[in-house]
């Protein structure tokens, strides 16, 4: 049974469709990355799953329970939503104690969580004196209070130093290995790549990828950048390689060949046979960032959405004239 499943889930805010006919299944264990540009619907989806907002259409289940009855599953769900939120004048301990009381948990659980997130010893200080990283740790602690089967973390490493990031990554892995599902929403692609087993990618509220991380990485393509020993041989080099059947693009002083590493030796031989010595031959594999940007576009999501809306409006105006 998936930990989260949605069917044609849609949420509109006026004319804006934040989540658009979303159908997905999130596995019941492991670390799952939720990715998408700004305005792609990640936060709206998380809020729907937590019962903070209601969908306009469609259905969803969390831990097998319908989202129309969040009381049936919230005791098994922990969340850090859009940054930590606490009473600034209260200590870390009392903030957690307040949330523990709300969930009917014993005070001893607060001690356990403070230990897990490394705030033991600082727990009696007011949250107002905490750095962003410490608040983030406290936010993760609040999400862990109920020892959840499903942990939803929005930008969990925000504000953490490199050591803290590694620590949180290890914590997420430990939780996943213990059988929990950890759903991580983040803009840090390197974090998602390092931590996640499964990936969900949204764009304009629509699902554009849902599957294991390795499936996405196999979509990565490669190319080979070559450069002739003498710059005036760049054009002839492009011609002979193209004549041999490869697709080429001429760059500034180099040639990009659409080929993977297996063709490197043949490309070198082709150039050599034409009397051109290569001073550079580099096999370049697409990065996770390249794959992500090719899927979602290279423009800020909200700006792209605004431009699209503007274009549509202009089109409508034009059509009526």
């Amino acid at each position: 049974m998936p930990s989260v499943s949605t069917r044609d889930l849609t949420r509109r805010f006026g004319s804006v469709v934040a989540v658009n006919s979303l159908t997905l299944d999130i596995p019941d264990s492991g670390v799952v990355g939720l990715l998408g540009p700004n305005g792609s619907g990640k936060s709206t989806l998380i809020r729907i799953l937590l019962g903070l907002i209601r969908p306009t259409e469609g259905a969803a289940h969390v831990l097998g329970q319908p989202i129309s009855h969040p009381a049936a599953y919230v005791h098994d769900v922990g969340a850090l939503i859009e940054g930590p939120a606490f009473v600034a004048g209260l200590s870390a301990r009392r903030n957690l104690l307040s949330l523990a009381r709300l969930r009917g948990l014993p005070a001893t659980r607060v001690d356990e969580v403070l230990e897990i997130v490394g705030l033991t010893g600082r727990d009696r200080e007011p949250v107002s004196q905490f750095s962003l990283g410490m608040k983030q740790r406290l936010g993760i602690g609040a999400a862990l209070l109920s020892d959840p089967r499903l942990l939803i973390l929005d930008e969990p490493t925000n504000g953490l130093d490199p050591a803290g990031i590694v620590e949180v990554r290890a914590l997420l892995r430990t939780l996943a290995e213990a059988g929990s599902t950890v759903l991580v929403s983040s803009h840090l692609l390197s974090e998602i790549e390092a931590a996640c087993d499964h990936l969900v990618v949204l764009r304009f509220g629509r699902l554009i990828f849902d599957g294991p991380m390795r499936d996405l990485l196999t979509q990565a393509s490669a190319h080979i950048d070559i450069a002739a020993e003498h710059p005036d041989q760049t054009a002839p080099l492009a011609e002979v390689v193209a004549a041999a059947g490869w697709t080429v693009t001429t760059l500034d002083g180099a040639v990009r060949v659409a080929a993977d590493g297996a063709d490197a030796a043949n490309i070198n031989r082709t150039a050599h046979a034409a009397g051109i010595a290569l001073r550079q031959l580099v096999v370049v594999q697409d990065s996770f960032e390249d794959i992500f940007l090719s899927m979602t576009g290279r423009t800020d999501g909200e700006l792209a959405a605004a431009r699209a809306a503007g274009d549509a409006e202009a089109g409508e105006v034009g059509g009526t004239q």
Partner: protein, 265 residues
Amino acid sequence: MMNTLRSEVVRLWRPRLMIGWLGLTAAAAVLINMVMFQLVGEGGSTPPAGPGVAFPDAATLASNEGLIVGLSAAASMFGVITLAFWATATASDTSSGLIRLLVAAQPHRWRLIAGKTLALTLLTALVTTVATAVNIAAANALAPLADLSTDAWGTDLAQVAGEAWLNTFATLVVWRVIGLALAVLTRSAAAAVSIGVGYVLVVESVITAAASDLAEWLPGSTLSALAAGGNAVIDYGTAAALALGYVVVGLGLASVVLTRRDITD
């Protein structure tokens, strides 16, 4: 519901917050007694009631109610302080984003309102007790300076003080509910306090001046009458019934709005 109550008490029990609320209430009790006894001591005529206060005459101060009459005289002042405190405590849940965690942990949102209401009721009882104690101490200290006879003050003291405490408590509970409802509706402490205080000090006075027939239905007049155990305009039973109506409407409105609203903050 007990979980939400216990959670609220942990969050509300902050030294600065409580000292501020109790301190302001105590200061208001001292202030009203100073003004009341000074006016009587100077022998001038009693000034007319203004927004938030109604000054008793010398005969009332010398009666067995004189010891605690400051509570009802400044009922609206205590009420505004209570409204501001509760509006701030409620709206800060939204402005800080804490409401996301609360609703995610307790999806029965009406229980959050109920727990907060119970917690506020407990703390309002504490504040009423402090106001009563400070008022009694201030009256005892200031009466000799006004050369006022206090021979009648001991008569039925427990009953008089008990009734004053109960009426003040009931009044503050209604003000508290109004503050909570305004905060839920506006999601802003500043807006809720501004609306509440502005209403008490300005709007109700204007409405009363323009349409005096309406005065007995308005919150300020109703709650002043409730605090005083009834007055010439509104009898005690009517004031209590109207106050109950304000509580039901206020809590009902807050519950419906919080239950139906998307938590996007």
